[in-house]
Symmetry: C2
Subunit: 232 residues, 2 copies
């Protein structure tokens, strides 16, 4: 999502500014704007040893209007209720869909740590987005709010293919079953003359292990060794 | 989700411990366990002025095994790739569904800020869950990781009903249209003898405003005043 700008309005804590920039980098966003930040906080965040490319490229503005001047859709975030319903209020997952489907240059506004967005900040927005925190404790940490909102925005992107351990082959499992049956017999756990029912129960027991190819090799080795020991 | 325990393994930073507890409270989770925390960090987090009920009730353990002893499903979190595929790896949203549907007492493990979960920590898990951060910058802040995972877990709970501003009635809009038509005529914008086409265009223009009942009242007042001024 290249068309999204994160706008922090009057942030006061350098750790929060840095955390917001870090979450942006984690989730692939690059455009950070700060409105009227506490000066020392901004300099501290920007000069931190772990300040990344997002923080380095952040722009600073005197007003919300300046920070969002080239944007077509301005969305404010809130943990609490909508004040007097001056604007439509969307739940985060619905809002995320609206933002992704807008095709617009979007500004996502986060208020100061203590007071959130002011009524004046909100008057620049098209609608508000509510993070579904508990009503009894809806005030979220700024860096965490940014992380949760950005996660929601990238959540339904084309899922990456995660690596999966190759499963054991049927033949591996057959050999394992034979070896195990012999161990059970030699050890006295089962009668030497295996019945069809016992075979089936053993096959099911091994099947429920859900073995990977690699773990099947380990189990084959374990039973080979036990077998060797039992025979000598 | 009462059956979920957040387990922080070897956390080092009191701010991160506090942030994790805060996110838990935001999203309605109460069961926090710390394994081998840096002692000073834990005491500092627990005595912070804003330490909440989650932090106060946190339990401290020497080992992962002790922290998860009564759990039936142990899930580790990771930003990076799965080491050697020792365990199945789920994307966060899939993992969230598995956790919600398990009906089990679940432990969700988060590693230390610097190293994440160790191979030994991971050996206690049933599977791992990956937060979909960029592979180029997948190392997330601990407090933000906790917030994002817990958000995913409560995300599809029965959505709360958000307040919606009541819409304007058809009659309000009709009166507004009449008043506006008169203003347009008196001001010389439109001819006094309104045509059917002009009426329709005006109705569509007003319809596209998507007015709430309250905003319709404001516009009615605005045009009443303009009308009064134009007539005197």
């Amino acid at each position: 999502m290249q068309g999204l700008r994160v706008v922090l309005v009057s942030p006061r804590n350098p750790l929060n500014i840095g955390a917001a920039a870090r979450a942006m980098s984690n989730f692939g966003f690059t455009d950070l704007a700060l409105v009227n930040p506490y000066d020392l906080a901004f300099r501290e965040a920007q000069s931190a040893v772990n300040a990344d490319h997002v923080m380095q490229a952040a722009t600073v503005h005197d007003t919300v209007a300046s920070a969002v001047a080239d944007c077509q859709l301005i969305v404010g975030t809130t943990g609490g209720d909508h004040r007097e319903l001056a604007l439509p209020l969307q739940r985060l997952e619905q809002g995320g869909t609206l933002i992704r489907e807008s095709g617009a240059q979007v500004a996502l506004l986060f208020g100061s740590e203590k007071y959130g967005l002011s009524n004046d900040d909100i008057s620049h927005c098209h609608w508000l987005m509510r993070i579904p925190a508990r009503p009894q404790h809806s005030s979220m940490n700024l860096g965490q709010s940014v992380a949760v909102c950005l996660y929601e925005l990238i959540r339904s992107e084309v899922p990456e293919v995660l690596p999966v351990a190759p499963a054991a082959s049927h033949q591996q499992l057959n050999v394992l079953q034979e070896r195990m049956a012999e161990v059970l017999a030699l050890s006295g756990y089962a009668d030497h003359t295996a019945t069809a029912g016992a075979d089936q129960r053993l096959r099911l027991l091994i099947g429920r292990m859900g073995l990977s190819r690699r773990d099947a090799e380990i189990w084959l080795g374990v039973f080979r060794q036990i077998l060797w020991k039992l025979r000598h």
